[in-house]
Structures are given as C-alpha cells and as structure tokens.
Point group: C2
Chain length 335, copies 2
C-alpha cells in the first residue's frame, strides 16, 4: 500500500496532534468551559508536572479509549455491523443459497426484525461469512475500500466523518503531553487498524480489538496469513483488562468509555496508584447525535453510570459539555 494512500486524511476534522494546539492556546477547543473540561486538564497537568507529587514519566502515560460510542457514533448500529451487511450483499451473487437461508436472507431483504431475532448465533454466522476466508492483506483492502466510500444513512457522510471532534481534541492533547493512546474496542482489531492512523492518529500496533484466528501458509507466491472462521478473543467487559494486560503489559492511567462493556477497563485503570482519569461519555444529545443509556441494547450504559457516580468518575454530558460533536460542524469557523 502506497504511503500517499495511507496518509490520506479520511476524517475532515483536525488531525490529533499539533494542528489543534497550533491554532489555539486552548488544547480542547471543542469542549465547553466547565468542571468536566477542568478536571481533564487538571489531571494532565498533575501527571506531567515534573516537580509535583503526581508526576508520571512519559513511558507510563498510557491512555485507553473504547471506540464505538466513545470515539465515533454507534447508531443506527455499530458501523462495523453496517460494513458486515454491505459485505454480505456484495458477496451474495456468489452464494445463491443466501437468498433462502437465514440470517443472510434477512440481510438481503433489509429485514431488521428477523436479523435481531437471529441473536448472537446469527451475528457470528454473518461475521464469519464476511470477515474470514481471505488473507489479512485482502481484508485490509476490503475495509479500506468500504470506509472510503460507504455513507451513513442519517448524515449522508463517510463514517469517518462521524468521529467526535472533542475526542480528536483529547487524543491530540494527550499525545502532545507525552501520552501513548491505545484503542481498546470490542470491534474487530483488523477492521479498526485499516484506518485508525489516518482518522485518529493511533498506529495499528496501538489498536486492540476482538479477533478471529489466522493461519500462516506458505503459498507458491509467498507466505500469507489466512483469516479463519474461528473466534480468537472477544475484547469486551472482563476481556478488556485481560487484553490490556496481554497487549500493553501495564496498567493505563486514563480510560475513556461509554457503556457497561467498558466498566472493567475503567475499574482496572482506577485501581492503580497515583492520579487516574476515568471518563464515561453519556449520549444525551438527540438533536446533534443520539440520546440513550440504560434502556439501550447498543451502548447499554447502566451499571457503569452508577459506578461512575458513586466513585466520582468524570461523566460527559454530550449535549452540555461538547461545543461541537462532529468535525463537519466546525467547517465554517476553520475556514
């Protein structure tokens, strides 16, 4: 893959890192002034102040971010689920049996009720049919083509335009302050890695996600890794601290999530010594984004919200705390 292609900026917002801070002395311009913003900045100031009691050396400044609902939207469904359905439709001509076999039939007929009723078993069948059976290189190309072309049904924009500008600000702010940012998502690790650097400024090796197994094969034209229709690990709930330990090997000092699937990651982060930042994003903005919490299936936020309140973690009220939600909202100001 050529470097030019890799460097293409898929989001239309500021890239994490220098630009935001170069533009303004405020490192978090998309955050409204108030306690939430102040607490984030106080944490960063404390752990980076070399003569203070809470100083953390740069190599220990590990921050972990959930992806769906934390760095980008997750409605009407996880974007990777929409990718999966597009992929099934693309592959359908080679699988005439899908026309009469569930859950494929439901995808082809846009029959969401049947699809949801097929549950986890149906989901895994769709995932394996769409995510396995090709080499890792082929899969990366499939994802990159989709992410550069597919458009979100509500906003008619690229999915990568539906990242949260305040979180891009935050990624850049932490990076500028010597943090290493990791994505720790229940989404597929290779789905995310295909575009994480261009969109979030997070390198592939700093992306952790759910995975399927791969097999090394020596073919006539060289070695390949083949993606197998077999789950390797589900990186959610208890799995998040397990994977953080496996992939990073140290405890984060800051963790950002938005659902009960992130609770254990935040607990694991909170249990370390010294200053810690645990933050939950509460989707409260039905106008600009979506509003949901305890009743939601996708992005279910219930126990984690209670624990955040009990333990004094930061809870972001999207409607109140975020000046902009998406990068495209700031187009006019930037120009």
């Amino acid at each position: 893959m050529g470097e030019k292609k890799k460097d293409k900026d898929l989001s239309t917002g500021r890239r994490p890192g220098t630009p935001a801070n170069a533009r303004s002395p405020d490192p978090l311009p998309s955050w409204n002034e108030g306690t939430t913003k102040a607490r984030i900045m106080e944490f960063v100031n404390e752990v980076t102040y070399e003569d203070g009691p809470w100083f953390v050396p740069p190599h220990e400044r590990i921050a972990v971010f959930d992806n769906d609902g934390t760095l980008w939207s997750e409605r009407p469904a996880y974007f990777q689920a929409l990718f999966t359905m597009d992929r099934i439709r693309d592959l359908a001509p080679q699988h005439p049996d899908w026309q009469v076999t569930q859950p494929f039939k439901a995808v082809l007929e846009h029959d969401l009720d049947t699809l949801i009723a097929s549950g986890m078993k149906g989901l895994v069948e769709l995932l394996m049919a769409s995510h396995a059976g090709m080499t890792t290189t082929e899969f990366e190309n499939i994802v990159r083509h989709w992410i550069m072309a597919a458009r979100h049904p509500r906003f008619d924009r690229l999915y990568t335009e539906l990242v949260f500008q305040p979180m891009l600000d935050l990624l850049g702010y932490l990076h500028t302050n010597g943090f290493q940012n990791f994505i720790v998502s229940a989404g597929g690790i290779e789905f995310l890695r295909a575009w994480s650097r261009e969109v979030y400024g997070v390198a592939p090796e700093n992306v952790i996600g759910s995975s399927i197994k791969t097999r090394f094969e020596l073919r006539d034209d060289g070695p390949v890794l083949v993606r197998l229709p077999e789950i390797d690990f589900i990186n959610d709930h208890n799995g998040k601290p397990v994977c953080i330990n496996k992939f990073i090997g140290r405890r984060p000092i800051a963790a950002f999530g938005n659902s009960d699937g992130d609770l254990q990651m935040l607990q694991w982060t909170a249990a370390g010594k010294g200053r810690r930042l645990m933050l939950l994003i509460h989707h409260t903005d039905a106008q600009r984004e979506w509003a949901y919490d305890r009743q939601a299936t996708i992005g279910h936020l219930d126990k984690a919200l209670d624990e955040a309140k009990r333990r004094g973690w930061v809870v972001v009220d999207m409607e109140k705390h975020w000046r902009e939600i998406y990068p495209f909202e700031m187009k006019k100001e930037v120009v």
Copy 2:
C-alpha cells in the same frame, strides 16, 4: 513499583540509544568491520534516505527480534527454564508431594536426564506450577526478584549480563534511526516484560511472547488479573507471524533470529515490498559463548540456515563478526 527501581540498569553494558553513538561515530562498535556489518548499515541507510527509492517512513520501520539465542545466550538451557526450576525449588516446601512426583522430583534432585525424558508434558506441568496461580502483579515481582539475583552457572553473573553487546548496539542503532524495535519470543511474554525496558530499552508493549490465559476478578481490595494454568498461545514457528500480525498489525521490514523457530518470521518479513533485512545469528564461538547449530535441541538451526544461504539473508558468524560478545568484556576499554 518506583521509578528509581525501574530505571536501574540491569545489564552492565551501554543502554541502547544515545550512549553508544555519543561515544563513537561508529554506531556498531562491537561489530567487526566486514560484509555483515556493511550490509546492516547499507540497509539502514537505504530505508532512511528520504530522497532515495527505498525510503520507508518512520512509522513503518518495524524491526522484530527473537530473544533466546538472539539477544542473550540460551545455554545451558533457556534462562526461563532455569527460572522455572529455581521457582519449583522455592515452592517445594509447600508441596511435599513433589518429593515423590515427577517431573518435580527430578527438578529437586537436579536430575536432568529424567527431566528431559519427561518431554513437553513434563515441561508444561512445571511451567503451570511455577507461572500460574498468582496475580499478574505478583508474578512480575517474582520475576524481577529472580532476575536481579540469580546467577549464571558458567559465568557467575546476572543473566542480564549475558545479553549480546552487538545486539544492544544494533537495537540502539535502529532506534536512533527511527525504528520501533519489538521482541518476538517463544519465551513467556510476562517473564520478558518484567525487565525488557531496563535491559534492552524495549517497552513492555513492544514485547510479544508465549502466554497463558488470565482472568479478571473483582476482589474486596480491588480488581486483579489471575494467571491461569492454561496455555493461551505458543509464539514460535508459524505462531510468530501470526502474533506479529495480531500484536503489531503490520509487516516488519527487519527480522533477527537464530533458530528454525524464527524461520517463518523471517519469511514473513522477506515477503514484503522494498528493502528488507533478514539476519540469522550462527552460534560459532565455543570459546567466548557456545557453538551449535543443526544438532542442537535448544536453538536448533538447520532449515533456516539453508534458507538463509539460498536466499542471501545475512548470517552472523559470532566468532568472526562480533568483536565483543558480552558487555562485561568491554569494561576495561570503557573505563
């Protein structure tokens, strides 16, 4: 763990990075002049020369290093096997049955023949008894205590003094040239991470190894990760490219190994586009270190040596190409 302790330099050699290059304009002072050294430097010059045809941007400069036999010695046995036996002896008072049960009895009686005869099954039993059943934090402390005190039988030195000075030079040289160095070892990932930063300058998150499973538990005094007596993944042979893909998510441009267990990692690296460096260390120095290859059980080098010769990979003849083997050999010159 306090920063002072973490920063203690466990090896007595130069730390990778600035010191070697500050001392001398030669970035690889422990390598004798000749084709091997020239080929390494030619590769680095080509991929870092911005106006040249082989330029690789810094974020794609991934180098992977095997550990046992590549970065440190592996005789009389893998050092982690010696740790395992020390650990079994430490735990023996709490397990009276081990006095009469194999393979534990063999460890307690220093009966190597019986131990070797117990094979993979015996080895796994010893590993599980010594490496599982505690939290990840407890295990890290156990390893750190051992590595700071245990001494090698032949040299009567810390094991971390038996790292290869030319490889420390090489790690530093690549790091200085914008490379990200990863360790990709068949050894235990958490065993290595307990000291990789201090000894090699390689951060825990850049260490990949074999692993056992862990389980997240919420205890009264907070969350822990418990190490389970169950293999998660063996990072050897075909497993190396699989893990490189899983942990790093991109193909290395340089790979360093010393045995058939590294062959697939080198093949995977070689199959990418552009300039690549594949290097095998051939243990040829019975005087200063050890000499072994095709007949060896530990560090078996046979097929990989044939493939290296056939494909023109760099093969290091330790006796001829390395001016010093261990850091302690250079003590006099440095002072």
